[in-house]
Point group: C2
Chain length 231, copies 2
């Protein structure tokens, strides 16, 4: 992955995708905000440019156009649109690109609670993504547990990002993106099948946020220093 990689953040007009785009733009990455609506994507990119400065490498495009020009595709969309969008963008996903899935199958997607998850046949939203991407495209699960409020606030984020995926070449790319966010430690969480646990942790954190009125995150303690990647 060259230094000139570009990251398409689908759902980048929503709070989670916007926050990730902001942090990566601040870190000097080239970010393309993807949305169904080009104008909304451009408006979000403009907002980030105002916050980061004119040198920010950020633009806004319609989802398919965003994928078409990106090496990395980050999914930060509500679960109800997950499979549909994957099918739509499939022809636009470049060979050998990486899909980083931050989607959480919250029951809120079907009118239920954000403190509960749906059962996904494949095991997790990320595994559903792995089934839907073209052959040769790797899916990595990450960023589910970083709250949008923390990403959109100033200053470091007091959270670890656990990264799960089956392609040993793709996981480090997602971990390097995680370490671009100040405060975050990236941890290799093993295979993609573990994504189901990461996704459920988000529902737990949402419940804690409601109960205790906070913006919770998780930290993993007790691993050797080599397990925690920072920039």
């Amino acid at each position: 992955m060259s230094a000139a990689r570009s990251i398409a953040v689908l759902g980048g007009t929503g709070p989670e995708g916007f926050g990730l785009s902001l942090r990566w733009a601040q870190a000097g990455e080239t970010v393309i905000i993807g949305s169904r609506d080009t104008k909304r994507a451009q408006d979000a990119a403009e907002k980030i440019k105002q916050r980061v400065g004119a040198s920010a490498n950020i633009s806004g495009k319609e989802n398919i156009a965003a994928c078409d020009s990106a090496d990395l595709i980050v999914f930060t969309i509500p679960f109800e649109g997950h499979a549909t969008l994957l099918k739509q963008i499939k022809p636009a996903i470049r060979p050998n690109s990486i899909v980083i899935d931050a989607t959480v199958p919250l029951a809120a997607s079907v009118g239920g609670r954000a403190t509960r998850t749906l059962g996904v046949w494949q095991g997790s939203a990320a595994q559903q993504a792995a089934e839907l991407v073209p052959k040769g495209v790797s899916v990595v699960a990450a960023f589910q547990n970083l709250g949008a409020e923390l990403l959109n606030a100033e200053g470091p984020v007091d959270c670890d990002v656990i990264v799960c995926g089956d392609d040993p070449n793709a996981n480090p790319v997602a971990r390097s993106l995680a370490t671009k966010i100040p405060g975050v430690r990236a941890i290799d969480g093993g295979k993609l099948e573990n994504a189901r646990i990461l996704e459920q942790i988000t529902a737990l954190l949402i419940g804690l946020n409601i109960r205790h009125k906070g913006h919770s995150g998780i930290r993993i303690s007790g691993l050797p220093p080599s397990a925690y990647e920072t920039q």
Copy 2:
């Protein structure tokens, strides 16, 4: 719950139950180690007495006898024995006592991996317990994510304990037990249905331990100080 409460730790001869018994004995609690085998229970109690000192209020009994003399029953047994033991001890559980369930339905219970969980019909081991206890007995889920190695080592434990349960009078009792372990912060995690997430986190932590050669735990960041209970 009086200061003279006694805690039966079923599975207290295993590493997790032994570690919890040790910590609570060190904190001055009255602990009864429960086992199928009275002699093994007594031996474990003796080991803890040697470590804590002669003043330790600890004894060992067969499981049913242990429940018979306890106000609090802590389950730290492998999932394969969970339902069977609950049925066996059911007549011995005192009315108005509290069952604290630390059981995790690891796939290792059926010859699979300790990094995966089984699907439990009720949603979680703790919810299975809630179905099997006598009416009027409350089940609280807690302590799944405290590794045995950390409990059995010296010094504070770098982990939070999330406590979930449906009885607003029982949850604080489990949280107070958590705060007896140095380093631990107890957090109210809401309803018992959330136990399924706590249980799955254990499988994730076991995977991290294997992958990174550590003794991992979780900390929850970003909640207001009132959410974190310590002694």
